[in-house]
């Protein structure tokens, strides 16, 4: 499934929720699910400083596709991370670089990506794109 289709799926999932409580309860459930990152990557090296909630991000290249794992100490942030990772992970760097990520706006969570939110999410997306660019260069050299 391509990224756009995955985004569409998330939008459809969220269209079922009638009020903010359902939406956030779902995010919290997503956030509480299994750890999204190997504990050994939950170090300062992989920490994206978000001032209020901390985000750890690890990216690797497997068979030409980027595998993303991430975590946060705040559960709502973690829920949103889980959405981002499910949409972006396991795609080629080129596909990731082209991703629009419009779905966050459509499900009413765009505000969380604002750099003023101090939750590390906007830095995380920027970091994912930096990884993607670096991996793309690496792939071209091979």
């Amino acid at each position: 499934m391509n990224i756009a289709k995955k985004e569409q799926e998330v939008i459809e999932d969220f269209s079922l929720f009638e009020d903010w409580m359902d939406k956030y309860s779902y995010l919290i459930e997503l956030g509480k699910e299994l750890p999204l990152i190997d504990e050994k990557y939950k170090t300062n090296q992989y920490l994206i400083s978000g001032c209020q909630s901390r985000v750890w991000l690890y990216a690797e290249l497997k068979d030409g596709k980027m595998i993303l794992t991430a975590d946060s100490d705040a559960v709502i942030t973690k829920g949103i991370i889980s959405l981002l990772v499910s949409v972006l992970s396991n795609h080629t760097p080129a596909e990731i670089l082209e991703a629009k990520l419009n779905f966050l706006e459509q499900i009413g969570l765009k505000e969380h990506l604002s750099p003023t939110r101090a939750n590390g999410l906007s830095s995380m997306v920027r970091q994912i794109m930096l990884y993607a660019r670096a991996f793309q260069i690496k792939l071209k050299q091979e």
Binding site: Y24, S53, D73, A74, I76, A118, N119
Partner: protein, 403 residues
């Protein structure tokens, strides 16, 4: 005190956030502005705007007179001996930086500056940097777990090397109202001058600088219902007179030639450039407003809010409140077991409630408690008991969702 009547003066409070009536509990960050303050700023720009202190024309005289009247009003409000002791600044942060700059020649290698463990970064970093530049030492008066300081310990720390004690009047995190008069007395016994950071103190305590005896007192207008971008550094005349200028430029000079410049007298020596006249007038209007409502009425009301909110919050399972001083201002910092403050703040926002989450610009204090941050609710004169009910219910609801 008629809260409904007061709330009519703050139209901003009458709005919906995320479909719910706004509950504004972030007053320690900034307070809302009443109509008379907004009107004063508008009137200035409608009828009086002109540059101050230099014009011969009518408007310039009007603006200058209004600006200087505002200075006198502030002087009276904090009971300064002379309005020359009132320096207009951008806010507490600039006031502290001003002082840290002009005191610099006075701080030698091996000297010491004492601060407390509950300082806001703005009364910490300027002193830390000054010490670093001048090879002096920054000493920190420890905070007890209940959020108070030990005066006996303070006495021991004030060795002959100490050149300044810089300490907050009221903690922006813990709400602790420090016994500033006693602190100043102890410091002066050892010959140590004192700066009080009054960012929170100005709004939640009676400030009489002569009674307290402080050498310097810094505060921001926006924490006491005045506009942003205006603040005060109060300094005793005998101090300010002998300290060097801060910024250089227009207004602060006496005579300028290419060879030499002599400086203007106080307070202009410290007010280089065109000042924030509208801000100063707004500050006067805010202080007048507060006086009209009555400081005692406001403190009494805020204390009731504090007691009621503390009681309601304590009923929530896993609640941990930081700061248990006997004298405490209307600020409650808390954490709930297993709940990240950012998550709680997000959900409260969904319910229309504005609180602060994070380290509140006091990272060393967070380190002391071994935490990343807290949720902070802080009250002002326009908050109500009903709002606290809404808040406590919202916290319960959020915690249920998050656990």
């Amino acid at each position: 005190m008629d809260i409904e009547h007061i709330r009519k003066d703050f139209p901003i409070l009458n709005q919906q956030v995320n479909g719910k009536p706004l509950v504004y509990f972030d007053n320690a960050a900034t307070t809302q502005k009443p109509l008379p303050v907004i009107q004063r700023i508008t009137d200035y720009y409608l009828h009086e705007n002109s540059n101050v202190h230099r014009g011969v024309h009518h408007l310039s005289l009007v603006a200058t007179e209004a600006y200087e009247k505002a200075r006198s009003f502030v002087a009276n409000y904090i009971n300064a001996e002379d309005s020359k002791e009132i320096i207009f600044t951008r806010g507490t942060t600039e006031s502290v930086n001003l002082l840290a700059t002009v005191l610099s020649p006075w701080i030698q290698a091996g000297d010491e500056i004492v601060i407390s463990g509950m300082e806001h970064h703005s009364n910490l970093v300027p002193w830390q940097q000054l010490c670093e530049r001048n090879k002096a030492r920054l000493k920190v008066l420890p905070v007890d777990l209940d959020g108070t300081i030990d005066l006996n310990f303070l006495k021991k720390m004030l060795t002959p090397q100490v050149k300044l004690l810089a300490i907050t009047h009221i903690s922006n995190v813990l709400g602790t109202i420090n016994p500033v008069k006693e602190i100043v007395r102890i410091a002066h016994e050892q010959g140590v001058p004192v700066l009080l950071d009054g960012a929170q103190g100005i709004a939640h305590a009676k400030v009489d600088v002569q009674d307290i005896g402080a050498d310097f007192y810094a505060f921001s207008g926006h924490k006491i219902y005045a506009p942003m971008g205006i603040g005060i550094l109060y300094g005793r005349f005998t101090w300010l007179r002998r300290l060097p200028p801060y910024q250089f430029g227009g207004e602060m000079i006496d005579k300028v030639s290419f060879e030499k410049t002599t400086f203007n007298e106080l307070p202009y020596k410290y007010e280089a450039g065109t000042p924030n006249v509208a801000g100063a007038l707004g500050l006067e209007a805010a202080l007048r407003y507060v006086e009209e409502i009555g400081l005692d009425n406001i403190f009494d009301h805020e204390d009731k809010l504090l007691q009621y909110a503390t009681k309601k919050l304590q009923d929530i399972e896993g609640m941990r409140i930081f700061g248990h001083a006997k004298d405490k201002a209307a600020v409650i910092s808390f954490l709930i077991n297993g709940v990240h403050p950012y998550d709680l703040g997000m959900l409260l926002d969904q319910m229309g409630i504005a609180v602060r989450t994070g380290h509140h610009c006091a990272e060393p204090l967070m380190d002391f408690y071994g935490i990343q941050g807290t949720v902070r609710s802080s009250f002002g004169m326009y908050n109500t008991m009903e709002e606290i009910d809404v808040f406590a219910d919202a916290v319960e609801k959020a915690v249920q969702m998050l656990r």
